[in-house]
Symmetry: C2
Subunit: 346 residues, 2 copies
């Protein structure tokens, strides 16, 4: 077990060739005669030579490392995207370093610094940066792709589902079941997805000739906590004129809502339909299984990474939005609007 690193020089010396030859062989660039190749190859094996990546990267001015900036990893939604990114990276021989921000602008800035310091070749941002200036400068200078959320698609591509269409699909499903009193549990964060889903909710109502009742719109916590979903639902269901369906912009909110309904002895979906968004694991852990919009999280990560690598290897690439397919998956938490036998609406 040799403690100190073997360098290319050691190999060259021992094999009786120049470092250039060794390098050419190792990298498969340039021509090396079969005879020398054999000798050098053997020497490499014998000495256990591994090229020093720091030196190589310094010379080649690339790191083959990409940066992933995301709010946290404990949220399964992000975790799945992460899995997609790391897998794609692995395939392409890149490694991924993670930077979790907890949505702290200062942390976001620090993460971005890694680009300026030449520590990484590019970045995938899973959280619209709070500081637009910072984003703009970084995106103008380095390969960056936005995943899931975005702030500006002109300067850097963004990969996500079509949140507007997805929300419209879900609303169509709900209205198709006969619901007219549909509430919304949105979030008080300022993600673009939140805005779009909220807008789609309103547009759907309006275009169906229904009015938007501000009292039917509740804002859950910015991190989509399950408990805040429960609280919002509780408020909605205790209104004088409660909704017969709740459109949640997150599965966790939907889950919280099913709990709230259970607590108030309101059967789901018989008397209350609840829909979620994202399709994370726990939508099918307990009945009622939640009707939701499935996002291809893994794929989202994978495609983001691919676009980034493309850009890295082939130079300036496309910007703009890249939409991946979503899917409306109907399960147990939504059903035909219930009509009280007495004739009254429920």
């Amino acid at each position: 077990m040799n403690r100190s690193k073997v360098t290319i020089k050691d190999v060259a010396l021992k094999a009786g060739v120049s470092v250039a030859t060794v390098s050419r062989l190792v990298n498969g660039t340039g021509i090396v005669s079969e005879a020398t190749a054999a000798i050098v190859q053997e020497t490499i094996q014998e000495l256990g030579y591994e090229p020093n990546l720091m030196a190589r990267n310094l010379r080649k001015k690339e790191t083959r490392v990409i940066l992933i900036v995301c709010p946290n990893v404990t949220n399964p939604y992000y975790a799945h995207i992460l899995a997609g990114i790391t897998e794609a990276s692995y395939q392409k021989g890149y490694s991924a370093v993670m930077y979790t921000t907890n949505s702290d602008p200062e942390r976001e800035l620090e993460g971005i610094q890694m680009l300026y310091k030449g520590r990484v070749d590019g970045a995938i941002l899973m959280d619209g940066l709070r500081d637009y200036e910072v984003f703009y400068h970084a995106a103008a200078r380095f390969p960056i792709v936005q995943c899931s959320e975005y702030v500006d698609t002109e300067i850097a591509p963004a990969v996500c589902i079509d949140n507007y269409q997805a929300s419209r699909d879900m609303m169509a499903h709900l209205m198709g079941l006969g619901h007219t009193r549909i509430a919304l549990i949105s979030s008080d964060n300022d993600y673009i997805s939140t805005k779009i889903r909220t807008q789609a909710y309103k547009d759907s109502l309006l275009q169906a000739g229904l009015s938007v009742n501000p009292g039917y719109i509740k804002l859950g916590s910015s991190d989509y906590s399950f408990q805040s979903g429960r609280t919002c639902a509780l408020e909605l269901l205790q209104m004088d004129d409660p909704p017969s369906a709740i459109f949640c912009i997150s599965d966790t909110f939907a889950l919280g809502s099913t709990i709230a309904a259970k607590e108030l002895d309101i059967p789901t979906p018989q008397e209350l339909s609840i829909s979620g968004f994202d399709d994370v694991e726990y939508t099918t852990m307990h009945h009622p299984y939640i009707t939701t919009i499935a996002q291809p999280c893994y794929k989202l990560g994978e495609v983001s990474a691919q676009i980034l690598f493309d850009r890295l290897e082939k130079g300036p690439a496309r910007t703009g939005l890249v939409h991946l397919d979503h899917q409306l998956v109907v399960r147990e938490s939504t059903a035909k609007k219930w009509i009280d036998p007495s004739g009254e609406e429920s």
Copy 2:
């Protein structure tokens, strides 16, 4: 917006000093007069100079990057450990690159290669390596710490909870409630934690003068899937002489068991006590909230990282086991053994 990197040379030239002076100022090593410091500082700002880490690392022979090898990130248990590691790294100015193996030995090997290639300074392994040889060689040569699972604590330190004591605690809780027919849902993986928990289960029974009934021991899937927990519980509960309590080595198995009990109309905890392990999010998403052993996941990651950094900065450090405190958290899924009014045991 200058496209090309500003180097230390540019700064030196513009500020009218030597590169050495700039370097000294940037690194805070050596003495620099206030006057020059001011000029250089200003020049750095003006030019937007950021030291190139590749060059620095090459020279200093360190990368300030650590490797995290884990089976996956989508499991919240790992995700929380990961969060702890990345936070600790961030504090110390390290970055963390992730390598997910999906428990594939080949991938584990590839991950370890990063140490040999000098791409990272050290590693945290969250998955006992399948290939002991590989582990042994790597651990002998590089700073490695094992987190949560481990294969050999002589050659590299391991951070985890005291699985034996934790399991004994849970069994004591169950037996303290009057249960004598206690089943086990273990896993068919070969993690050390699995072995220890299983052993503790048996020892507890034996030391209480009870016998170990092989029929009461079921093996769930190696990845602790919720569905396999349900299946195991279903089998147990349909036995002629079903258990009155199930000790699960994972929360997901416990969750699956509550579902199984519900399907068979067996009230939990009135007629069946169920205990979990780990205390991940979904233990309190639905009633009955699950009685479990809380693991300090975040802290596990944090401490692992700290030990690694210590080793990196202060040379060879301790090996052996580092136990972090666990906690028995009693919630709703366990209760006093139910006695049928007719006098028969249930």
